[in-house]
Symmetry: C2
Subunit: 240 residues, 2 copies
Amino acid sequence: MYITAVAGTSTRERIIEAAAKLLSEGGRDAVSTRAVCTAAGVQAPAIYRLFGDMQGLLDATGNFGLATYLADKTALEETDDPVEDLRAGWDLHVGFGLAQPWFYALIFGEARPGHEPTAARQAAEILAHLVRRIAQAGRLTVTEERAAQLIHSTGKGVTLTLIAMPPHDRDLSLSTMARESVLATVTSDATTAAPHTGLINAAVSLHATLDDATVLTEAERALLGEWLGRITRAGRTDRR
Amino acid sequence: MYITAVAGTSTRERIIEAAAKLLSEGGRDAVSTRAVCTAAGVQAPAIYRLFGDMQGLLDATGNFGLATYLADKTALEETDDPVEDLRAGWDLHVGFGLAQPWFYALIFGEARPGHEPTAARQAAEILAHLVRRIAQAGRLTVTEERAAQLIHSTGKGVTLTLIAMPPHDRDLSLSTMARESVLATVTSDATTAAPHTGLINAAVSLHATLDDATVLTEAERALLGEWLGRITRAGRTDRR
DNA sequence: GCTATAGTGATAGCACCGATACCGGAGACG
DNA sequence: CGTCTCCGGTATCGGTGCTATCACTATAGC
């Protein structure tokens, strides 16, 4: 048997790493099938056999870039303060965008309706986990889904704005301010008692741990979940 | 002299309108030089003579789409409540994104560092004007520039998120919630007195009307402006 | 052990893309 | 009248995503 690839890496990995290198150094337009092929020492059909599509290769490349960054940062050790963990996650997200703008634009900057890269989905799942922990601590003032959407939207907008700015006058306090603004909206401060919103907090907290309520049937849990959602939404839909 | 274009429209307008039609109907990939040429009844070199570049044509097309939308909406009549005017501007912005997602993605969705379409610049100027009126009313709690950046970033992120979602489960309350969240951060409520932030409000308000202080020299105004900026930033940089 | 089959290399090529060199006529201006 | 600048038209160049097709090898089944 002949070793078909250098250093034990598979053909698929060689292609992805070549594409990632081209992307981070030359931008989106530098990633063409020809360039990837010559850089990886592979012929064109290999790409389509392995990834089906140029879009598939870009998707895998974005996923690879995000995973590499997260691995380098040994990301997201959980502390006992879930809100502080979310702050760390936010800063990690923005940091990835500024460190690898081309990857970030590839993952979060494509606007075609109904298309979500796998890397974006993974990031959304990480965020959902962070939000869920806040909800379980009883410090969420809106629905989990809504909080996650709001946080993700704001973070994406801020990061894309920072990327589009000329690097010398980027101001990270924009990120800090947006983060605290959205956190103030979706979380209740741990120190100050919030008697008025106690109902909402309790509803959200219960909603987050609803799956553990094995005493209820699935249908009962579904109905209860809908009621809790109504309570939560009614508290925050109107202007304040 | 022969009439070279139909219905009195110039060649430039014919090309832009053809590109806009292709964009709104077929998406970004449908706008190619060939397609535009056949749709407008024009040869390829005309595009490059008039717009210099394909990017130039796309820029002009995005500008045209935004201008058309704003004209249709007879946009932005000013009331006596500048914050309410900003709400209307926000909703107009999001409405444009959902009504013309391809145009929106073309204008606000490109992430390359240091590149800003003219349509994006025009939108930023409209926003700056709205924010300035709030500042002049003494209801801004942060720097004008910072408020504009924060509002623009958040609105862009929310709109791009809504565009990327499948149309049937788009929820405009996400937009409402983000709008009120950012407004709560950068403005002070007119009804509730805010004694603690009175200094900041006064500083921002004075900063907004500083150009009218012709009693001072230009250098004096510059120094005073810097001081006022320091006062404002000191109040809002830290966590709350 | 032999053959059928699936998987992987390599070549060549298609249709399309953005962009440009070049030509020709038509009006503007001195 | 001569020049000169604009604008429409033809043809073409290099590059792109993608695929049909062939050659070869390693595995599976008998």
